[in-house]
Symmetry: none
Amino acid sequence: MGKLDEKKKMKRESLLVAAFTLFTSQGINETSISDIAKKANMAKGTFYLYFKDKFDLRDKLIVAKATQLFRKAVDDLDGQSFDVLEDKIIFMADSIINQLNDDKILLRFLAKNLSWGVFQSAMVMEIESDSDYSFYDAYVNLLKESGRKFCNPEIMLFLIVELISSACHDVILYQEPVTLEDLKPELYGTIRDIIRRQEIRS
Amino acid sequence: MGKLDEKKKMKRESLLVAAFTLFTSQGINETSISDIAKKANMAKGTFYLYFKDKFDLRDKLIVAKATQLFRKAVDDLDGQSFDVLEDKIIFMADSIINQLNDDKILLRFLAKNLSWGVFQSAMVMEIESDSDYSFYDAYVNLLKESGRKFCNPEIMLFLIVELISSACHDVILYQEPVTLEDLKPELYGTIRDIIRRQEIRS
Amino acid sequence: MGKLDEKKKMKRESLLVAAFTLFTSQGINETSISDIAKKANMAKGTFYLYFKDKFDLRDKLIVAKATQLFRKAVDDLDGQSFDVLEDKIIFMADSIINQLNDDKILLRFLAKNLSWGVFQSAMVMEIESDSDYSFYDAYVNLLKESGRKFCNPEIMLFLIVELISSACHDVILYQEPVTLEDLKPELYGTIRDIIRRQEIRS
Amino acid sequence: MGKLDEKKKMKRESLLVAAFTLFTSQGINETSISDIAKKANMAKGTFYLYFKDKFDLRDKLIVAKATQLFRKAVDDLDGQSFDVLEDKIIFMADSIINQLNDDKILLRFLAKNLSWGVFQSAMVMEIESDSDYSFYDAYVNLLKESGRKFCNPEIMLFLIVELISSACHDVILYQEPVTLEDLKPELYGTIRDIIRRQEIRS
DNA sequence: AATGAATGAGCTTTCATTCAT
DNA sequence: GATGAATGAAAGCTCATTCAT
């Protein structure tokens, strides 16, 4: 990778970091492109070399943050030795939930902005082309290793993700209606249900 | 009540109606004060005779919509004869949930915008000064009639409201993770828990 | 007419005057809306209360200038007593040509910007609704008074206008290939030809 | 001529071709330097190695297009054997008119942009230094061969060119007020007049 | 010579808010 | 009370131009 490419990567990263800070502290609508560029120490026009507009950046940011979240979960799984697919997936779910519980700003940001469409385009296409493996690849591998067949692995993944994000939002932020610890067993039970329902049994 | 006051009331109402339509159809940030005034058939300047700005109107709108929601619940209760406080409150909760289930635009609007602060100021202060009784009065009466004592009736009320709104949001809009009918028993159980936890037993 | 309406009329006029000066001295593309507003002594935003954008103003300006040009021709005709239609039209043509010869900036502006579409919409619709008669009305009256019938009076009018503007442009501005005085006889001959060709003889 | 020079020549040519396409299809003001460079398959910065700015390129383009037009006329003349100067010049004029009639985009471009100043600088200075003879040289030779003397050969040339371009514009594009065939005799008559008027008779 | 990332001035446009009528 | 013309700050975005590589 050339020096110039690295510099570009860093500029893009600066914009993402600056925007995340501003978005979460003062809201997207209250944040101007000028603000973002200023915070990232570059000219306004430079913004447009990296993103189409504020909402494009927001979508990319969601992708980046979600990717990071999931990659950590995959990495955590590497150190474990489960046999059953359900156990692996629930382990990753637990990793994700704990990460969100530790970073409530991230949770609030993702909860407000993550939508099916954005997520799907993020995970199915390998946008993060610089990395040697995508989260989606890891997920597909997991399914293959299990030797089992599923109707629609993409939708299955999304259901799990959506369930986690919506169910955990209030619980983590407000501890209502139950504590996170009390919620987990039921949540994981539901995840097992989703996987079972999607499996094609021969 | 004078004719002039009535006229003013109607203008205010027009603005609220116009704003609700615009807010829910195109979003708050995409709605200008000019749009609202135009839709309400009055001049831009007139807006400022009734509301400080767009967000003031939004807050008043939430109060108005929430008040309406709750008043309907109180009215429904009038035709019933329960003895126990819990049954009365759950009956009202059921009324509210059913209203939201029937009017998903309203649900989406309230879910996006209802916050503790806004709600509290709405219910505790009797902003709706034209009505002879506020929802909060009805609620306080209910508690008094029961002959029981509670630590913090305001927070108790809010907890119930928040629980209903957050728990029902995904369920009503997306039927996830369970159907509304499946959710209700657990929800009502939790409401009973909240009331019990707040009661001061002598 | 109220005082306010008069004031508005004057503001609009100011913008037209300012824009004409700037357009003809430095070109349309080199003139910003900011420039126009500044020259007209008002805020940038005010511009948009009167015109959609720079090109809207330009079109209105062409209409206004062309209308003025034609109205003067009609007014000049009033003091004359010709019997034959051709003589009347040529008299007006001569008035228009002389006006353009006296105001070469106007000629250059109209020649650069006048297009069939703009002109047609200006003359057929009575945009200048404050005036008691439009040029087009005067023209139609002229035809009616003659007692003669024509295939397509609108196109006939346009042909004459287009002929005058294109034929006179170089002649007036550069005296090439002939002087204006030498051109006139041939031009007026051609106008007679156009009228004759459009007449329906019974 | 070195290989490097040829490459440069080609790059320059690419820019001219790209710009002509864009200028005539979407307008000069709507064409950015970025657009031109992209269409010419090179980087934005490269543009500045060949032209000062957009308007410089436009002027060079006019020169190039006009030169091409005239060179073709000169080449056509080579195959002919006229004795009288007037016949030669009118033959070339006819060649030019026919070219413009066949390429209306070119006509529109030249009509909109050709001005005395640009043309003069193009023809008098020999900008096209790569060619072994300029159009102007050919023209001067023609005069010399005739053995006749003229007051101001440059202005005489320009008058003829201007006459052709202005007279033909509407005729070719809109067939108004006469057809090209009907116009030609009078046009060529006028050209003879111009030459006669410029001749110094001893 | 060629590149294209970076710049920032400058444009158009919107809009909350004020205020004379 | 009601109006809507006027304002000007501030937003999004474009683009000619520069310059390090």
